[in-house]
């Protein structure tokens, strides 16, 4: 089972990287939280019963883990010493206004946790039905919300504020 899981993770690791980058934008513990995500996925893996696509299940668990880590941070702020690697954030992780990726992440960072979850799924080309299934809302409802979130992001990208 372990081998199968590692293979699935390696095939879908891009999803996890994106979720980490969105939820832990400029967070020095990003790699640590990525590891927590892997641990939680592994613990939840026995509950995956092939009723949905692996990526759908992966998104649900990974999004819940990311949101949960943020809650934990707020409930009990993390105060551990940063390692040399964590302290020296790699150069490509610095916010750079000219970088499209940073600008987009910065705009998404202004959204609430639920809005982030919805927009990641939309940007990853999931259809409304799949998004509604992962998020737990009705399909009709999701379209309106996506539109509103997109407007917010565009407004932030154009004006620099929500």
């Amino acid at each position: 089972m372990e081998k199968e899981f590692i293979e699935l993770i390696n095939n879908h690791k891009g999803i996890l990287h994106k979720i980490c980058n969105v939820y832990f934008f400029q967070n020095p513990f990003k790699e640590d939280y990525y590891q927590e995500m892997l641990i939680r996925l592994w613990k939840s893996y026995p509950s995956f019963k092939n009723q949905s696509a692996f990526s759908t299940w992966l998104y649900r668990v990974a999004l819940n883990t990311a949101i949960d880590i943020i809650r934990k941070q707020n409930l009990q702020p993390i105060s551990i010493e940063l390692s040399k690697n964590e302290y020296n954030i790699p150069e490509n992780e610095h916010y750079n206004e000219s970088d499209k990726k940073d600008l987009l992440y910065l705009a998404i960072n202004h959204l609430s946790d639920a809005e982030k979850a919805v927009i990641i799924l939309y940007l990853e080309d999931y259809n409304y039905k799949e998004i509604a299934e992962i998020i737990g809302v009705s399909e009709n409802h999701i379209g309106v919300k996506i539109n509103r979130i997109k407007n917010q992001i565009i407004k932030i990208l154009e004006n620099g504020q929500k």
Partner: protein, 212 residues
């Protein structure tokens, strides 16, 4: 900017790069771990807090047993009530920390994102209520006891002096007002402490419920 540009922007932003910071994390090694370093630290901090309250409670029970069983002291009801209140307070504080730890360790990974938000808000409200009620019961009962003691002049409380003056009623009033206000201050402090958390939680739930 066109709304459809966002997807293009997202795709362009995720062109595979050579230096990926996540590549340093080993999947295989992670599978044998319970939690990552920072989450383990948070949980250890909570366990230490619980241990401190547990030790306080154990010392309290030990002292009570020593006084009541070994020394066979015959304490009056006016002495027993505050002692019981102190024990109750230690018990409630320990329970409150245990509830916090349980909330932190309880995972909702397989729930939908919306259910996970609702579950967490319910638990957070539980923490708020337990914290508020524990202080409210303890401090209000203490205030009532002080008033009863004063009115009945138990232990000569009316003659207790402070700087060679008879304890003035206004000072007693200030102490009682403080005891009455502290639970509300605790509630306010809780709201301030978790302001960001509540704000994000409420925004998210409103969005998913369709209220906003």
């Amino acid at each position: 900017m066109d709304k459809n540009d966002l997807k293009t922007m997202w795709r362009d932003a995720h062109v595979i790069t050579k230096n990926n910071i996540f590549d340093t994390v080993s999947v295989q090694k992670s599978l044998s771990m319970n939690h990552c370093k920072s989450i383990s630290k948070v949980l250890t901090d909570f366990k230490l807090k619980i241990l401190v309250w547990l030790m306080g409670l154990a010392i309290y029970i030990g002292l009570m047993l020593y006084a009541l069983v070994y020394l066979d002291l015959d304490l009056s009801i006016y002495s027993l009530v505050p002692l019981t209140l102190a024990g109750l307070f230690l018990l409630i504080k320990m329970t409150s920390e245990i509830i916090r730890l349980l909330i932190l360790t309880k995972t909702t990974d397989n729930m939908s994102v919306k259910d996970s938000f609702l579950f967490f808000r319910k638990k957070l409200n539980k923490i708020r209520i337990v914290d508020f009620l524990s202080y409210l019961v303890f401090l209000y009962l203490s205030a009532i006891l002080i008033i009863i003691n004063y009115l009945s002049d138990i232990g000569g409380i009316k003659n207790i002096s402070w700087s060679n003056e008879i304890l003035p009623v206004p000072l007693l009033g200030i102490i009682i007002i403080m005891l009455v206000l502290i639970p509300w201050f605790i509630k306010y402090q809780h709201n301030q402490l978790y302001k960001k958390l509540y704000s994000n939680l409420n925004d998210s739930i409103n969005l998913l419920n369709g209220d906003s």
